[in-house]
Amino acid sequence: MGLILVAVFAANAFDRVFDEGVSAYNEQAYPAAIVSFEKLVDEGVTQPEVFFNLGNAYYRNGQLAPAIANYERALQVNPGAITVRENLNRAVGQTERGLARPRPPAWEEGLFFCHAGRTAGQSLAVAAVCWTLGWGLLMLRMARPWPYLRAAAWIALAVAGLFGASWWIKSHPPLLAVAAEARVPVRYGNRPGETVRFELYEGDRVRVDQRKDGWMRVQTADGERGWAQEEQLLLVGPPFISYRDRVKSSAPVEQAALDAVGYGDATR
């Protein structure tokens, strides 16, 4: 009973924080909205609505990088969300060069052409249904040896395997990062003195291949690679880490709003 009460209380608290974020957003107090939604992220709430609204708040606050990162998070949780994709495209369109997101390998795009837009859970559910169907058909064949039952069963099991692999891939997405500063130098090596190979602009998305000593080896959509400092990039995740230490706030009224939701210190 006590656990139920705690759960209900916690749920109400999350709803209240969400509503506070929406209210702050509607009052154009975007930093306050950001910290409200980031608080939910801190608590482990990873529903796409939270990331989407957080992306909107960052966008309105003039911070393209965290906005793009949060839209990407929302798409990771729900790849089929058209609204999120539209806002992401709009935000990316406002970056310096609208760099495309690094694409998955060609074999993955070819083999798993059907899983675009599906969540990992949906892939797993389809895999479970096909798996059960396959074994069920094999059991049915023991009782009723109808023709083609075995072939149908193997097809169902093969589809289950395909969607199982799809689930695995979606559950282990490539680590994306977003350039958080106006210009992020990408160097040949992971030391500050290394030659700059190319530059990323704020909002450019890259895939992270490797992390080492505060540096990330990143790869762009066109295959260019290099090392960039972690502090100049925002990791999309998972895990979904809050970006609240990067909130820009200058107006005192907004600071008051932050204090009101209990996150005032975060932006000072």
Partner: protein, 706 residues
């Protein structure tokens, strides 16, 4: 003359059986009469399972062309043996009269070396008429050339075997080592085959005056033959090359430079910052059905660098134009350049490479010319703009500006479109949003921008047409006015800022109670008009709070594991049960042994209530042993049971205990003394222990005690 390297090797797998026909090798000359310098055929015929022709021997007085023989192969299979019959015809020619001998020719056939007989030829001297004909000749495509312009020198030879020089040397000309034409053809007649080799050298005169190309040496059929010397006259390029007026140009007057050339130019060399500059890159190709030219490496798209310019590529155009007396197809790539900073900016070098194929006599005889052109660089002087007045939004060029409103009478709350149109020559991306005055009676959104580039006849530069559509929503009813407002741009023709005043616009706003909730039923609107007009693009609004807002739950791994494991486990269980059932049905002995303990214990429970417990116990125990060992229980005595237990290899003490119980029962059955209740209970207990032990040792029909 020495024979060339190995000519031919034909290896086919065929079993060399003892009854196979022996290999055959023959050489012959079918010509009845051999004349000096006249071709003839040397024919070699070979047959066998595997044939490997050896290198031809050197022949004194005969040249044999081993590079291009005529060959036929016939395969046959007879009696399980595969044979091949080869007939190879070599073109040959005798280079001296008299008796000439072709030595024996060898071949390895079915592992054995065979050789032909030597062929002795009686060669007649060549007729006097033949000696006058030169087997080589050289000529020029023009005897009067321009200094610095290329022309062709051709050498052609006819013979059995020809080696043409890679280049030629002469005072006053240079030979292009890249553009060398090579062609080889063959002629056949009843006597034999002859090769016709031709080579074209691209030459350029380096001085004016008469130039003599000395005789060119060519190796023909083993002999060195010289061409005749060639003479030409070179003159300077200043001399007229175009035909006189009224005369059609002749192909002979075309030079390599006239076939294909490129041009790059800009419409101005001085411009203001932001002013459009048109860069054109033209590829000129002569209109001649014999000439086909095009890019080889690089093309028009990879144009020159334009650092410091904002560029906009226009659609390429193709048209016909004249240059001198010749007509050309011109492919023109156009690019608009907008200088982004003052100073001297440079349009880089445009490098173009291509080839031209020129049909000389037929499609197969074509000249192939390589071209490399570099155009540019072009320096542009960019002047800075003067100090800008208030309201300047970045438009530089020559413009016409206008404004209009959608309606003079509008409804409160319903957006009204104010369209400002900027047309002219300029960079549309640099034309910023016009500054609207404050409208306290309405709300104004960011304008929607539409840009079009329209081609204008007889001008190279396109005309830009940029529209700014503002959505103005009146909030109050009554009379309203959009006051006049300026649009400032820099006019490059007048070199000064120009201000165009737009407006004012008077409006009547009618009141409505449902201004904010005005809706149109879809049935009232035609289908074609149901699409709303987007007045301002922006991000999509916030999402609603989901029904359950909660942290991501820990992975439901156990549930998913169950979901995936359960079907497989169910299938496995079903397989086991099904297999057991089938074995029960098919293997009666195994089925009896499986049920022996259960049925034995059930019988023991009935023993105590039986009127003849000793008899019932005996039957129960015997039935259990019979079931366990798959025996017939009818007529089994304690001795039989002992023998069967021993035969089954069961432990002796267990057999002893079982037999003791059975004998006790037999004594009670056939003796006069009945068993007491305690004795029955003890025997039942002992029988139960024996059954359990026997069942454990024989479970599943397998002997586990061994």
């Amino acid at each position: 003359m020495f024979a060339r390297g190995l000519i031919f090797a034909a290896m086919l797998f065929a079993p060399a059986l003892s009854f196979a026909e022996p290999g055959v090798l023959r050489a012959s000359v079918p010509n009845k009469e051999i004349v000096q310098d006249h071709p003839f055929w040397l024919i070699i015929e070979a047959s066998g399972g595997t044939v490997d022709l050896q290198e031809l021997p050197e022949c004194d007085g005969v040249v044999i062309n081993t590079a291009s023989p005529q060959q036929t192969t016939h395969l046959s299979i007879g009696g399980g043996v595969q044979r091949q019959e080869l007939r190879i015809s070599f073109p040959a020619v005798a280079i001296r009269a008299g008796k000439v001998t072709i030595p024996p020719i060898q071949a390895r056939i079915d592992g054995r070396i065979l050789q032909t007989e030597a062929i002795v030829l009686e060669v007649k001297p060549a007729p006097e008429s033949d000696k006058k004909e030169m087997p080589v000749r050289a000529w020029l495509d023009a005897t009067e050339v321009i200094v610095g312009r290329p022309f062709w020198v051709y050498v052609e030879a006819t013979g059995i075997e020809i080696v043409l020089p890679n280049t030629i040397a002469a005072e006053g000309i240079e030979i292009d080592p890249v553009n060398v034409q090579k062609s080889v053809s063959y002629s056949f007649n009843h006597e034999g085959q002859q090769m016709i080799a031709k080579r074209g050298y691209l030459a350029t005169a380096t001085r004016e005056g008469a130039i003599t190309i000395p005789p060119i040496e060519v190796q023909v059929t083993g002999r060195i033959v010289k061409t005749e010397a060639l003479t030409l006259t070179a003159r300077n390029a200043a001399a007229p090359v175009n035909p006189p007026a009224g005369e059609a140009p002749s192909a002979a007057q075309l030079t390599q430079d006239d076939l294909v050339f490129v041009r790059m130019e800009t419409d101005k060399k001085t411009a203001y910052q932001g002013e459009p500059i048109l860069l054109t890159m033209q590829l000129w190709r002569i209109q001649d059905r014999r000439v086909n030219a095009g890019p080889w490496r690089g093309n028009l798209i990879t144009g020159p660098t334009a650092e410091g310019f904002f560029t906009r590529d226009l659609e390429p155009v193709q048209y016909e134009a004249k240059n001198g007396s010749w007509a050309y197809d011109v492919t023109e790539t156009r690019r608009l350049l907008y200088a982004t900073r003052p100073g001297t900016l440079r349009v880089g070098v445009w490098h173009w490479e291509g080839i031209a194929l020129i049909n000389r006599q037929s499609v197969t005889q074509r000249d192939r010319l390589h071209y490399r052109f570099d155009q540019g660089p072009i320096d542009i002087t960019v002047k800075p703009l003067p100090a800008a007045p208030a309201g300047f939004t970045g438009a530089v060029g020559s413009f016409e500006v206008s404004a209009e409103i959608g309606a003079a009478v509008v409804t409160q709350g319903v957006p009204l479109a104010l369209t400002i149109r900027v047309q002219g020559a300029g960079n549309p991306d640099a034309v910023g949003d016009p500054l609207l005055p404050e409208l306290p009676w309405a709300t104004t959104r960011q304008p929607e921008r539409r840009v079009e580039l329209v081609a204008v006849p007889n001008t190279l530069q396109p005309r830009m047409d940029k529209r700014f559509v503002y959505a103005i929503t009146p909030l109050q009813p009554g009379h309203a006015e959009i006051p006049p407002f300026p649009f400032v741009y820099f006019d490059t023709e007048k070199a000064a800022y120009q201000t165009t005043t737009l407006g004012p616009f008077a409006l009547e706003v009618t009141a409505t109670d449902e201004a904010s909730t005005r809706l149109l039923a879809s049935e009232e609107v035609p289908v074609a008009e149901r699409k709303v007009e987007i007045l301002a693009e922006d991000i999509r609004p916030l999402m609603e709070r989901p029904a359950t807002l909660a942290p991501a739950r820990a992975a439901r791994a156990p549930l998913w594991f169950l979901a995936f494991a359960a079907p497989a486990a169910a299938y496995a269980a079903m397989r086991i049960v099904s297999g057991r059932r089938r074995r029960m049905a098919e293997n009666r002995g195994w089925a009896r042994s499986q049920r022996a303990r259960t049925s034995g214990l059930r019988r023991l429970q009935d023993v105590a209530q039986s009127p003849e417990p000793a008899d019932a116990l005996f039957r129960a125990t015997v039935a259990f042993v019979a079931d366990t060992l798959n025996l017939s229980e009818e007529g089994l005595t304690s001795g039989d049971v002992r023998a069967e237990l021993d035969r089954a290899g069961l432990p002796g003490d267990l057999a002893d205990r079982t037999v003791q119980i059975l004998r006790a029962c037999e004594r009670a059955r056939y003796g006069s003394q009945r068993l007491s209740r305690d004795e029955v209970a003890a025997l039942i207990s002992g029988a139960e222990a024996c059954m359990n032990s026997l069942d454990e040792l024989t479970r599943g029909g397998k002997k586990t005690w061994a």
